[in-house]
């Protein structure tokens, strides 16, 4: 199998000339996602959380880089690994934690759990744990935009196993032939559960197959929030302009196993050197180095930001734990929106 080398810059480059405020806001959101996932990992270890949690640590630049290119009215569909997308699009951390704890105050009322987050008010119409599930439904809002003359785009986040599913091909062709404003974001973290990319494809060519379906396609360093954001902003602009569907493959890595709080190294599912290589390329550490070096913030300010975020996440988790679980007598509620 060919090994595609994604251009990796030694120093993150603010290619779009984002303001310091924007950069700090992006860093803050990435830290919020990291801290949330660390809290959840601890909650699972302590047996406070039962719902299967697929953690996003290591991939924060993807969700934030993409969502920073979106409006509230743009649509997003997510996967079983949905916490980062939910927070990046602007979802409430209180409602996220309440859902992870399966409380009635959760964003899905405790009926969804970790893999099924939604917030229609910010365009997140849902997350599916069927790995290619949103490849079909994610076309829908783009269809709406096209038919109603609106310029909102629909973003479909998915993992690198999804191009192995038939509906991926159906979806890309359908979007291309109808010139739908869809942005596909393939977060290629090199593994489908424990199966490596090389065991699942004859070639490292996801982005090339997407291009063959007629999509404008880019592959970027998924640990560089500026690179991801630039690719997303340009793709969104093209889609809004009526240039049809766009495909972005980000090359990244999840630090933990497919599900749960462990890295799966001692089980032999991944190699410690590989993990360490990617930890060196931490999307947050590298961004922090840059903002410190360029004087956007001081060490003290950064430390204080870390503390504030930790406190915010502590508070959200405590609130969730204190909230009630949904009452058993509500079991059949909301099966339909209009009862017969």
């Amino acid at each position: 199998m060919r090994k595609i080398e994604v251009p990796v810059l030694p120093v993150l480059n603010n290619v779009l000339g984002l303001s310091n405020d924007t950069i700090l806001a992006m860093l803050e959101r990435m830290l919020l996602i990291r801290s949330t996932e660390e809290h959840i990992a601890q909650g699972v270890l302590d047996h406070r959380i039962d719902t299967p949690c697929h953690l996003y640590i290591g991939q924060e630049a993807d969700a934030v880089g993409v969502c920073w290119a979106l409006r509230d009215t743009d649509y997003v569909f997510s996967t079983h690994r949905s916490h980062g997308h939910f927070l990046a699009k602007g979802g409430s951390i209180d409602r996220l934690f309440a859902e992870i704890y399966c409380r009635e105050t959760g964003c899905s009322g405790g009926r969804g759990g970790s893999m099924h987050l939604c917030d229609p008010e910010i365009g997140l119409l849902g997350s599916s744990s069927i790995v290619a599930g949103c490849l079909g439904i994610g076309l829908g809002p783009a269809f709406r935009s096209k038919l109603m003359g609106e310029d909102n785009v629909s973003v479909i986040f998915h993992g690198d196993c999804v191009p192995e599913e038939g509906v991926w091909h159906e979806s890309l062709n359908f979007a291309a032939v109808n010139r739908l404003p869809v942005i596909y974001v393939c977060e290629n973290n090199l593994y489908a559960a424990s199966a490596a990319l090389a065991d699942r494809r004859v070639d490292d060519n996801i982005f090339e197959v997407a291009a063959a379906h007629g999509l404008h396609t880019e592959i970027v360093d998924g640990n560089d929030v500026f690179a991801v954001h630039k690719a997303a902003a340009e793709a969104v602009q093209r889609a809004r302009n009526g240039e049809g569907p766009q495909y972005i493959e980000t090359r990244t890595y999840r630090w933990l196993g497919h599900v749960g709080p462990f890295d799966n190294i001692k089980e032999g599912l991944r190699d410690i050197n590989e993990l360490n290589y990617w930890k060196e390329r931490c999307p947050i550490k590298n961004l922090e180095k840059k903002v410190l070096r360029e004087g956007v913030m001081t060490e003290n300010e950064l430390e204080s930001l870390h503390r504030q975020i930790r406190e915010r996440v502590d508070a959200a988790e405590a609130k969730a734990i204190a909230a009630p679980r949904p009452a058993p007598e509500t079991l059949l509620q909301n099966l339909y929106s209009r009862e017969v």
Binding site: Y75, F77, C107, S108, G109, G110, R111, G112, H116, C118, D119, P120, L125, G126, S128, I130, G133, L135, G136, I137, G138, L139, G140, P141, F143, R144, L147, M148, S154, G166, V167, E170, S171, N173, F174, V177, Q333, N334, L335, Y336, S337, R338, V340
Partner: protein, 325 residues
């Protein structure tokens, strides 16, 4: 707003036109939208009235096409997506079952899915196992879906309009064997209520409960049996999920005997669930075991000689009614 006699197929066409005129969010997509060999006359001429922006042919991609309509509904549209043969609709089952049906519940009522997924039953003519299925029970088994199956021209139009206006996903199943059936159909807009069965013929000796094509066969059987001195009440379920057991049981409580006939495989079927509902609702009133008239438990065959043994008609209902004494 007078009634006039039109066919079931033309009534479906009118239902589309009214839904499209009344709802700017409504659009129609499916394979062969202009092709009479795919859809009869049910969508003929829609492209001329509403344009290619709202009436669309589709790539041969059942999952993507159906998913796109489900997702469009989540974003506030009211799509009608059709499958010219229900056999091919299985390719979209993940989108329908895992996503469409569960979404309202899984997200606690925050994201509604007002989509209409239309499956056309198209059997006989030596088409064989993969062009002949009518799997009512597959969809009726799924919580979160509503499933309708009109048997008359009036309801074919009224249920389609009701389905488009309904805030939940509706599986609308029509049958090409009914496309030529004629009855009185109002000219303008009206809804046949979802979830309500219809007593099509009153009688005192036996209740025949049927859906879709078998309703017409039940009416023929009732006529024949009437001449032989057996008075049959015929109930057209119209909606098969949620099924209107109240209307069924009101009738069975009166007659004390029932035959349930739906052209589907009988095991784990809609018919079986209706029988169970009768036992639950009026066991004490029954004078005989309830009979089911459903398809034999095998795939649809091709050869006419085997088709004759496979499909069920009025005479099969008549036979079942006569075993009740």
């Amino acid at each position: 707003m007078g009634d006039r006699v039109i066919t079931y197929g033309d009534a479906i066409n009118e239902g589309h036109r009214i839904a499209l005129r009344n709802n700017p969010e409504c659009f129609v997509i499916g394979q062969g939208v202009n092709n009479p060999w795919f859809v009869g006359r049910t969508t003929t001429g829609l492209m001329d009235e509403f344009g290619p922006g709202r009436i669309m042919d589709s790539p041969v991609s059942e999952a993507a096409m159906t998913g796109a309509c489900i997702g469009a509904a989540m974003a506030g549209m009211k799509p009608i997506v059709f499958h010219p043969r229900m056999d091919f609709m299985y390719l979209a089952l993940d989108q329908i079952v895992n996503h469409c049906a569960s979404w309202n519940y899984m997200f606690n009522g925050r994201v509604h899915v007002p989509v209409v997924i239309r499956g056309i039953v198209n059997r006989g003519g030596e088409q064989g196992a993969q062009h002949s299925q009518s799997p009512f029970g597959v969809y009726a088994n799924i919580p979160g879906l509503k499933v309708v199956a009109p048997a008359t021209a009036r309801d074919a139009k009224g249920l389609l309009i009701a389905a488009v206006n309904d805030p939940d996903p509706v599986i609308y199943i029509d049958d090409r064997w009914l496309y030529g059936v004629e009855d009185d159909v109002p000219v303008g807009s009206y809804e046949t209520p979802i979830g309500k069965a219809n007593v099509l013929r009153e009688g005192s000796d036996v209740t025949i409960v049927a859906a879709s094509f078998m309703v017409q066969e039940a009416m023929k059987a009732a006529k024949t049996l009437d001449a032989e001195g057996i008075s049959c009440e015929v109930i057209d379920l119209r909606t098969i999920k949620p099924v209107d057991m109240e209307t069924v049981n009101r009738s069975v409580a009166k007659t004390g005997k029932a035959v349930v006939s739906i052209a589907e495989w009988g095991f784990a079927s809609v018919a079986a669930s209706v029988v169970k509902g009768i036992y639950d609702g009026c066991f004490g009133a029954l004078k005989a075991p309830v009979r089911m008239v459903t398809l034999p438990d095998c795939p649809a065959p091709a050869s006419h000689s085997l088709e004759a043994a496979y499909y069920i008609y009025a005479k099969d209902i008549e036979k079942a009614v006569k075993t009740l004494d």
